[in-house]
Symmetry: C2
Subunit: 469 residues, 2 copies
């Protein structure tokens, strides 16, 4: 009754599972029917006993058949649950901050990620070692043990080494490992801010951060982000007026503008932080994509007043979520406590895999490759996008993002919604602005925005501008 | 100058790295010194070129040497950061709820885990497939892509299948994947409860849950946990008096008592939840260790009023943190939003590895093995512990925990602190009680509490009781 197709590449075990599954769900194999014995079936189909054992195991785990001790396998009784109306999948609205973020993560219903914050998965070849992957899930491997709340010691040591190479005097004791930078920010908010507190944020700046602060009842004070960093006069004035508890900002390759804070402005910011007694949360998730020898705030502050946040999600790959906070030692216990209240602890498996990548030197080589690839696609984008009337900010040379001004007369809200209907994910400028500014900007991902899928869409959307050149 | 030892099992590459590291840090190799070329060193030491390349890569990643294009490797300049006073490691106090949890996770400063909530790492042999570990970190693997916020589709489908086999009518749309059960509870608190709300909790019950609720400003109302479940009369009275928003509880193998809720009490609880309009958060992290055919609340409620929480941390291994919520469909969007605000998304790598374990049938077999092993060590503990005057609750037959009454006259606070000084982690009963009850109980882990390390300690601590038998 069961036929296998050979030579079309489908594993024989998969075919056995699929055949039985469809026979059972179509009712062609009644409840309680005894399946052929493993040896019988293997012989009849000309496959190994191991293939049949594995296939039967999978059918058991799907709940379709059950094994009765010593008597073989039988088709299960129908599941006891009644039928319930199918729950509909809600497609998030990419024009809202959280809707956009959800869409950009939704690999089950993918839009073309023209504005995504993640690099393509094929850029991450060779970042991780398959041998390490196998070693870490072996019996009695260290990865089978819980992770200490603060993070696995070997990883914290490696992170501290890496930060010291960047000139940031971190020790393992300054470090708290998190599930990415968003988690780091959440823990900082929970540990350090109370309902009604004020904080400074950049305009434009990262939108999920803003949602996190707003939902915690924090008052946001917008600081314009200029080509060489936050507007220092605005910081001074707003610090005086609003007595903020902290400034959440990005020093290098800022999201979305791609700019860096100049060394002079780094110094001024820290002086203001000291004078007006606020902390600085320095989010450096893109920092490794910037050239070496660029100044970070944590470097001149030496972890006194700066909480430095970073992550491997952007550079190593988005399917692993490992980030960290390097904080003044006195603040670490509160952050550790908040981590326990939020997730109890980290994933040893993920932490050991990142440690392996750092320790073996794979990470360093991988970052160099990513930077070369980004330089190539950025050069392309700088050539192609202006043909569609999209003018790019001149300053940024590096990183994932392009911050483009769209042609006059185009309504960004309409553009984003039209793009979503055409299967393309776009991030409108206003999403990045706490004041509703940056209305004629979009943020683009350099790795995707020169792809034909996107340029063909632009051709249909901006026909005049494209034709005019 | 560099000598390798052969035959003592230390990999030659490790020896090269260690030799150079110590020469550099002791100043025997000055800054700027050129290292031997790769080929030279390989020849001189009689090792492969690959071994030297890998060792040099590791020294580069440690920041000890640097590669100058075409000219070889050189000892780096000293790190630029000044020396800072060493940050001291604070050993958490195991007598507090969060201190105990932190200690039980602290594999860097391990205490003998007599009371831990985790099983030994060697119990997890064969739970995960090394082949899957290797496959998932390969170039262009699906695990290199971000995880959808709600969780990878393949995992949610498998979880829904598993729940339906347990009689809980879940669909993939009911499910939200989290970083373990603690994270699930945190998201539920954030999505559903406000400062000042009241909830019901069990007495005794899980202590990290209590810390999570208290820090969120939630008022706790204690419900005594009896042998067959929560005290129904107390639930009725407290529901009337305090109008709780939810009841957080465990139906099967309750932590710490090990007991199950009887079917009749399941029914009564749901009726009360309906009459007094509160939700039930059913934490089932130990459920797979209980016998089949036991009743869960979600089964008779059919995900109308019950949020079902579970996790793979206890059974698959504590180094992976994957848990989930099965919630009424109407509540899922709020939980998804809170997950984004808390961690942005999950780890594709972890989720695919759990999916592989479920799909291949490994999980089911692994659970059976764990249950057999637990039965064996429980039988031992039931025989041995009474010899030291520790009386065990009679009802529970399964699961990780033993709930033991210690001999009269022994002060539990002193016992826990004395044990910690002797390198043994004990969980005192009062830690589990929101009312400060259960003072003469301790919770023990069946896998550890018959180990000589612990029984030898008990002998010195309870000499009279031990001698009296």
């Amino acid at each position: 009754m069961l036929q296998l197709t050979r030579g079309d590449g489908r594993p024989l075990g998969d075919q056995i599972v699929e055949n039985f599954s469809s026979m059972i769900s179509l009712g062609n194999l009644a409840e309680g029917t005894r399946l052929p014995s493993i040896r019988q079936l293997a012989q009849r189909l000309g496959v190994s006993v191991h293939t049949v054992v594995t296939a039967y195991d999978r059918l058991i785990s799907k709940g379709l058949i059950e094994s009765r001790a010593g008597r073989g396998c039988y088709v299960c009784r129908r599941q006891l649950c009644g039928d319930f109306p199918q729950i509909e999948v809600v497609i998030p609205n990419a024009a809202t901050a959280l809707g956009f973020a959800q869409s950009s993560l939704d690999t089950d219903h993918p839009l073309f990620p023209a504005s995504s914050g993640f690099l393509p998965s094929d850029w991450f070849a060779d970042a991780l070692s398959p041998a390490a992957g196998a070693r870490l899930v072996k019996p009695e491997a260290e990865a089978m043990q819980p992770a200490p709340v603060q993070g696995t010691a070997i990883l914290r040591d490696l992170l501290a080494d890496d930060l010291r190479r960047k000139g940031i005097p971190a020790q393992a004791g300054n470090l708290l490992v998190t599930y990415g930078a968003t988690h780091a920010i959440d823990l900082i908010i929970r540990a350090g801010l109370a309902f009604g507190d004020s904080v400074l944020v950049e305009d434009p700046g990262y939108f999920v951060l803003r949602s996190q602060l707003e939902r915690a009842g924090i008052r946001l004070v917008a600081i314009p982000r200029k080509v060489d960093g936050p507007d220092i006069e605005a910081v001074e004035e707003m610090a005086r007026l609003h007595r903020p508890r902290a400034f959440f900002m990005q020093t290098l390759l800022q999201n979305p503008t791609g700019g860096n804070v100049s060394p002079a402005n780094c110094h001024k910011l820290l002086s203001l932080a000291e004078r007006h007694n606020f902390l600085i949360v320095e989010d450096d998730v893109y920092g490794d994509l910037a050239g070496p020898h660029l100044l970070r705030l944590a470097q001149i502050d030496e972890l006194q007043r700066v909480l430095y946040v970073s992550s491997f999600t952007k550079v190593l790959n988005p399917g692993m979520r490992v980030g960290y906070i390097a904080a003044p030692a006195a603040l670490v216990p509160q952050l550790v406590e908040q981590k326990m209240l939020s997730v109890l602890s980290g994933s040893t498996l993920q932490e050991m895999l990142v440690a392996d990548t750092l320790e073996s030197g794979r990470y360093r080589k991988h970052v160099e490759q990513i930077r070369l690839r980004l330089a190539r696609v950025r050069a392309q984008a700088n050539r192609i996008l202006p043909e569609f009337g999209i003018r790019l900010a001149e300053n940024p040379q590096e990183g994932i993002f392009l911050w483009g001004r769209i042609p006059q007369g185009v309504d960004t809200d309409q553009l984003v919604s039209d793009a979503q209907h055409n299967g393309i994910l776009l991030a409108k400028g206003a999403m990045f602005s706490p004041t509703g500014g940056s209305r004629d900007f979009i943020r683009l991902n350099a790795a995707y925005c020169t792809d034909r899928i996107f340029t063909d869409y632009l051709k249909t959307r901006f026909p005049l501008e494209a034709g005019a050149r």
